[in-house]
């Protein structure tokens, strides 16, 4: 079932590309090929995610990140995201504390779904995204001693500098809107699926920088401010 879910999701993401390729095939010879379009380097963009600023007011964990993306044919945007995640959470009921702070990394691409031949560089557009992310970090746990309910006695559970690592995949959708010359803002909604995790001898990771709460799947989002550095004059602005 899980495999089927991934196949369906990948199919959905690839469908626009397939449709485009099909349409393009019919127009072969009239315009430059789809491949050569993707090889057309139009500039780079730098962005910052400010979603974490708001999120830190709601939760005990947050993250901030920066990204650099390349514009290939106003259609495909390979991207590298580097961020820093923090967590300093306390469960008031159980008295358990979890603390970590570490960098995380993502690589992937955005695919502009609104680029057309007659309007190759829309000011505002919707895009599909895919990412591979990973983080390697240390975390601390400070929990009350565990009491033996049958025989009595207590065993302490205080763990420091536990090694953790996690990798995950993300797919989702985003919107990018031009707000001034060179400046854009936008948001993304992402569905994340954990690919691997490292379990400690005495603990599991609870918060993973860049991924969120350590479940097999979760949702995430970003709110980005983007500055595009044009390296090549675009058509039909």
């Amino acid at each position: 079932m899980k495999t089927l879910r991934y196949i369906l999701l990948i199919s959905i993401l690839l469908t626009p590309i397939a449709v485009h390729a099909d349409n393009k095939g019919k127009e072969a010879g009239k315009e430059k090929s789809f491949i050569s379009e993707l090889l057309s380097f139009n500039g780079i963009g730098v962005s910052a995610d400010v979603f974490g600023l708001a999120y830190s007011m709601l939760e005990d964990y947050t993250s901030y990140e920066f990204a650099v993306e390349a514009n290939l044919g106003n259609r495909l945007y390979p991207i590298v995201e580097i961020g820093m995640g923090w967590c300093d959470a306390t469960d008031e009921t159980r008295g358990i504390k979890y603390k970590t702070s570490a960098p995380y990394y993502r690589v992937g691409f955005n695919y502009n779904l609104l680029t057309r031949r007659d309007k190759p560089n829309p000011k505002n557009y919707v895009y599909a995204l895919a990412r591979f992310g990973w983080s390697s970090f240390k975390y601390d746990i400070d929990a009350p001693a565990i009491s033996d309910p049958v025989w009595g006695g207590e065993v302490p559970l205080i763990l420091n500098d536990i090694d953790g690592s996690c990798s995950w995949a993300e797919i989702g959708i985003g919107i990018k809107v031009k707000i001034a010359k060179g400046f854009h803002m936008g948001w993304t909604v992402r569905y994340k699926a954990r690919l691997s995790e490292k379990e400690g001898d005495n603990s599991r990771m609870w918060y993973v920088p860049g991924f969120g709460i350590n479940k097999s799947t979760c949702f995430g989002g970003t709110y980005n401010l983007i500055y595009e550095i044009p390296l090549k004059k675009n058509r039909n602005k």
């Binding site: 449709v19 599909a128 565990i146």
Partner: protein
Amino acid sequence: MTIRFKHITVSFLAMLLLFTGCEESYDCSIENVAYNKMGFYCVSDDNVESKYKYPEALTVSLMVNGNDSIVVNHITDTDNLRLPMSYTSNCDTVVFHYEGDYTDTIYVEHENIPFYISMECGTVMYHKVTGLKCTNSFIDSAVIANENVKFDYNENIKVYFID
């Protein structure tokens, strides 16, 4: 509405439908004690292993850190036991009391593993069975079937009775 816009809308809705309900939630175990699961077996003359229901009244007591406590009192026709393990001792003494004042003793050596699961599920104590010794009044032998004592249904120790 252009074909492209329709396509995007359909794709987005399909993704939302697929994702809805996909997010895993924390299912914390209802139990808060990881029990040592023992199964009773016997081996026939032609070396066939089968479950064994002890036919007479059986009383089981546990001795930990010098404290003795009866955990099973006069049960019959049972082929398994679930026994709590000590959090602070590394050896639990399990005593089987049979009718007629006969006894057998199984010494269960184990490590105690305090474990943090999550903020939602808290902490638990797991165990790892590292060694077994037993006396042989009615018991032939005891072996480790699964060393990890957790919240699952796997048998941890197989006790072979003399048939």
